[in-house]
Amino acid sequence: MTTQVVAMGYQHNWWQILTSPFMGNALIGGTIVALAAGLIGYFVIVRNTAFAAHALAHIGLPGATGAVLLGVPVALGLGVFCVGGALVIGVLGTRRADREVATGTILALATGFGLFFNSLATKSSSTMTNVLFGNLLAISHEQLITFAVLLLVLAASIGFIYRPLLYTSVNVEVAEAKGLPVRLLSMIFMALLGLAVTMAVQAVGTLLLFALVVTPAATAIMLTPKPPAAMLVSTVISVISVWLGVGLSAMFNLPPSFLIITIACTVWLVVWVVERRVRPAAKTASGSDRPSAVGDHAHH
């Protein structure tokens, strides 16, 4: 009785499934997406743009369903809407409070249009599911090539603007005073984020994207405050989540997005709990301003 309640169970031929061509594509595609997520995730957190990253994934939805309506590739529709949306958010958002409201409003409008376009193109509501939850197993050879090119663009761009981007992220007022083009850097960053989101949506979907782009970076920042190390750790967490997720999905016939996201979130939760227990001790150990300080009269 209990065996057939859910279609889940150990598949003895999992290695055969895992080594089949479509799983190969899923692994390579997932790895490329994880690398992209790792590269951009650190900056998403340092720049306080986690909500924008989440919203961009949703803004991709009308792009994808609209593309089906027009008969153009889904990835193209996704890309145009994600990068376009990113630039709009970048233009609107100079003040953080404005940005939150503008971003949320665009998010809702985009999701509505995504649903509308989808209802017009009745035959392919699977596009909707694919965009919402991702479908690594359907990644084609052409998509892999696009992914690889996008990853190269992303890596080269971040490599080129790394230090100025970090400077404007950590300390925008000082960076501006030094003469860095703060606004231009912000727009470039948003466009790159749009690219990364375009890729990640195809792997884990709109609704789960946050956990692949933002969560591993947040985990990494808890583990290390060194920027390059945090980017590396974040990338490693993303890649391991994807590999384990794809592997387990072959073993147990479960959706890979679900497994990838569950693994990434579990790592985050474990690190968060451990960090809470360890770090307060470190803080109090070196709490006062100066070890040799004279009595602190001002507080009394």
Binding site: Y42, I45, V46, R47, N48, G159, F160, I161, Y162, R163, P164, L166, Y167, S169, V170, N171, E173, V174, A175, E176, A177, K178, G179, L180, I221, P225, K226, P227, A230, K283, S286, S288, D289, R290, P291, A293, V294, D296, H297, A298, H299
Partner: protein, 262 residues
């Protein structure tokens, strides 16, 4: 021609009939003064009088609506590499994700494009400047773990790391307790003596700074003025400036205080 022709330090600031307009509104005008290099100069004025606009003009972020501005002898914006800037809120948002020493390092290489390894010399400079401001002990801590006083030291270290000729601090004493206020003022005084930098300090409360200031730029009735400290610490001028009765007290020990007695 002669040596003295070659050497005279350009004034830190030279303004000639400068006016500043922001959002279509005239903030202040008729700013004509020279600030000699090498002093500790307060920038004072009531809220909304245009202190921030003045800083932005000096940094080249806001063009003067009229008149001419020279900063360290050059048009504003051309000398930003020689200016260290300490904003009012230093890295308050994202301090979790970066260490003190990495943040300071950005003061050296944060404007360089393309990827590059950090040189040994840059690292040594970071350590040196952290020691100079008394922040050597927390170089490897996260910015978010610092207290207000520690954070201000780090902000000053970052401003100093590229060996500026001028240091601009926006309300560096706000939200610090009395001991930290005193220590930061002593630090500024020492840096001024040791490095010979010109220091501009925006401040609401002049009292903690009175002992070290040489002069002040004050924004009054829509105009910008400059004077040596003795002439600025004047009861009627200060009362007019702050819009409330100010009493100046000189103690027999040489102390100087001002208080509101309205």
């Amino acid at each position: 021609m002669s040596l003295s022709d070659h050497e005279p330090a350009a004034p830190a600031l030279a303004l000639d009939d400068v006016s500043v307009v922001r959002g279509g509104r005239l903030i202040w005008s008729e700013g004509t003064f020279e600030v000699p290099a090498g002093g500790i100069v307060a920038i004072i004025g009531s809220n909304g009088s245009g202190k921030t606009s003045l800083l932005q003009v000096i940094l080249g972020l806001l063009p003067a609506a009229s008149g001419s501005v020279k900063v360290l002898g050059k048009p504003p914006g051309e000398v930003n590499a020689s200016i260290g800037y300490v904003p009012q809120n230093y890295a308050s948002a994202s301090g979790e994700a970066i260490r003190v020493c990495d943040a300071i390092l950005l003061g050296l290489n944060g404007t360089r494009w393309a990827f590059g390894r950090t040189s040994r010399e840059d690292r040594r400079r970071v350590a040196e400047v952290l020691d100079a401001v008394g922040a050597g002990g927390f170089a490897r801590r996260r910015l978010s773990e610092l207290s207000g006083g520690q954070r201000q030291r780090v902000a000053i270290a970052e401003a100093l790391v590229a060996r500026p000729k001028m240091l601009i601090l926006d309300e560096p004493l706000a939200s610090l307790d009395l001991r930290n206020q005193r220590e930061i003022v002593q630090l500024l005084d020492r840096l001024h003596d040791d490095l010979g930098v010109t220091i501009l300090v925006v401040a609401h409360d002049l009292n903690p700074l009175l002992g070290v200031l040489s002069s002040a730029i004050y924004l009054l009735d829509g105009h910008a003025h400059f004077d040596v400290l003795d002439d600025v610490v004047d009861e009627s001028l200060l009362s007019h400036l702050y819009g409330t009765q100010i009493q100046v007290i000189r103690t027999p020990q040489g102390g100087l205080y001002m208080r509101s007695s309205g």
